[in-house]
């Protein structure tokens, strides 16, 4: 069978294109992977820069801070670990310092109560003693799902604040600036958690370290307006 000359040229060109593609495609694939990795790294770098833990000022007086991690008994209990930390006397800064130390975790990583990749994004303290702690998404996505594990996480935050920041009366947890229904499917985050019912009123000179009072108030949860649907017999809807 004799093919016309132009067909030979066409087939040769086609073959050449296939050979070039076979050589070039793996290189292209490698380049795309490298570019994606670089972008991921730069995003992680930006996140870390934004969420960089509050630097502990060595000139602050060292105090014995109590941090609450898992007791190790595997029964959902926490135990206090005393750590010498230079802590600020200003409540918001002090709260950030202790919470970042809590997030950094204990020496024994098995006793962690919070995921290692979680970060404290912001912390505000309202004049009525309500603290608003805004954590990164990893707090909800990386924590082991379950009532016990979620309760331990919240308890460790609340108890650590109660032991070290006497101005905090109650605490509201936000995830990436948003109010969430639950932490990881179980524990209710729509309400504030009591930290210290006998908290002393915070000083009002912390406006520079948090949002203005009006702005912060917008972050506080409001009571859900939905009412209990009246069942047919009207039971349990009236006190």
């Amino acid at each position: 069978m004799i093919l016309p000359r132009w067909r030979w040229w066409f087939l040769a060109a086609l073959f050449l294109a296939v050979v070039i593609a076979a050589i070039y495609l793996p290189i292209l694939r490698r380049n795309i992977k490298q570019a994606a990795k670089l972008q991921q790294r730069s995003e992680e770098q930006a996140r870390r820069e934004l969420t960089q833990p509050t630097v502990i000022n060595p000139s602050d007086p060292k105090v014995k801070a109590k941090l609450f991690w898992a007791s190790g008994a595997d029964d959902g209990t926490l135990s206090a670990v005393t750590v010498d930390l230079p802590l600020s006397s200003e409540p918001v800064l002090r709260a950030k310092q202790v919470l970042n130390t809590l997030l950094a975790g204990p020496v024994d990583t098995e006793l962690r109560t919070l995921p290692p990749d979680a970060a404290l994004l912001a912390f505000y303290l309202l004049p009525d003693g309500t603290a608003i702690a805004d954590f990164s998404e990893a707090l909800g996505t990386s924590i082991p799902s379950g009532i016990e594990s979620e309760q331990m996480a919240v308890d460790s935050i609340a108890k650590t604040l109660a032991a070290n920041v006497p101005q905090v009366r109650q605490m509201k947890i936000l995830i990436h600036g948003q109010e969430m229904g639950t932490l990881a499917g179980h524990l209710d985050l729509s309400q504030a958690f009591v930290v210290n019912a006998n908290a002393v009123a915070p000083r009002t000179d912390n406006a520079g370290t948090g949002p203005s009072t009006s702005a912060a108030r917008q972050l506080t949860p409001t009571a859900t307006a939905v009412k209990l649907a009246a069942p047919p017999n009207n039971m349990a809807t009236r006190p």
């Binding site: 595997d74 331990m152 729509s190 209990l228």
Partner: protein, 279 residues
């Protein structure tokens, strides 16, 4: 000769085409006939994940006729059983492919049998792989008079082979201007009753499963908060077991503890004479 070959090839192609058309037509006819019956036969596993739960106003589809007149007078005769999670929400996941949402559904079947043996009517918040919202699940209990609510969970943590019962923390029982209890505080008037029910069940679990706490735990569990009935969450440890059979062996003990705990709780929950009064 060449022409003959060409004709044979063309004939073969034509035959193949018509056979293909016939096969496609056959499949289409059978497929159309089979579709409606497949839809009817679709079991829980094939139910869409967004399937809405039964509305509270509907009578409980899972109620059994074994109710006893004495129990009805005492008050509690319905248990709303909630296998947590479902649908795309798998809950806790173990390394061995164990999913909380699947296991709690299987546990629920055994708990239901044990409760029915104690004379309770059982209403399940989900039968298959649906995922009703927290509020929908609560609404199923809130629409009943004289019900208790039990939500089943499998933890990611805790000593394997143990089980814990949780009740809601103390809540301020506020009422609004119209005298209604806000939906998000529905559990408030029932906290002490929930604790009594929880203590009953936890004591039985502690006898059965060594290492389990002796008394009920408190936690701000989202599902319990909006439930206007004595309500407990039972959490079993854990999805981290190496062998799924370890969890399966716990099911009869869990079912028995819940059923006997609920039966022992029955006399302590006397419904108010007037439906509008506090329990």
């Amino acid at each position: 000769m060449l022409l003959d070959v060409g004709r044979v090839v063309r004939n073969r192609i034509r035959q193949t085409f018509w056979v293909g058309v016939f096969v496609v037509a056959l499949f289409a006819a059978f497929g159309a006939a089979a579709l409606p019956s497949a839809g009817q036969a679709g079991g829980p596993a094939s139910a869409p994940q967004t399937q809405p739960p039964p509305t509270p106003a509907q009578p409980p589809a899972t109620a059994t006729p074994t109710q006893n007149a004495t129990h009805a007078q005492a008050g509690v005769n319905i248990v709303v059983l909630d296998p947590a999670h479902g649908g795309t929400d798998l809950g806790a996941r173990g390394t061995g492919g164990i999913h909380e949402s699947d296991i709690v559904l299987e546990f629920a079947a055994q708990v239901r049998t044990a409760l029915e043996a104690q004379g309770f009517q059982v209403v399940q918040t989900r039968q298959g792989n649906a995922n009703p919202s927290f509020d929908d699940r609560s609404a199923m209990a809130n629409a009943q008079r004289g019900a208790i609510f039990v939500t089943l969970h499998i933890a990611s943590t805790g000593t394997p082979g143990t089980a814990r019962v949780y009740v809601m923390n103390d809540m301020a029982a506020g009422v609004d201007a119209t005298g209604l209890i806000p939906w998000d505080r529905a559990q408030a008037p029932f906290v002490s009753l929930s604790r009594r029910l929880g203590d009953n069940v936890q004591a039985l679990l502690a006898q059965r499963f060594k290492g389990s706490p002796a008394v009920v735990q408190t936690a701000s569990v989202r599902q319990l908060r909006t439930t206007a009935a004595p309500a407990i969450a039972v959490e079993i440890s854990s999805v981290t077991v190496e062998d799924r059979a370890q969890l399966d062996h716990m099911a009869p003990g869990i079912a028995d503890a819940i059923a006997r705990g609920a039966a022992a709780f029955r006399p302590s929950y006397v419904l108010p004479a007037n439906p509008g009064e506090r329990p």
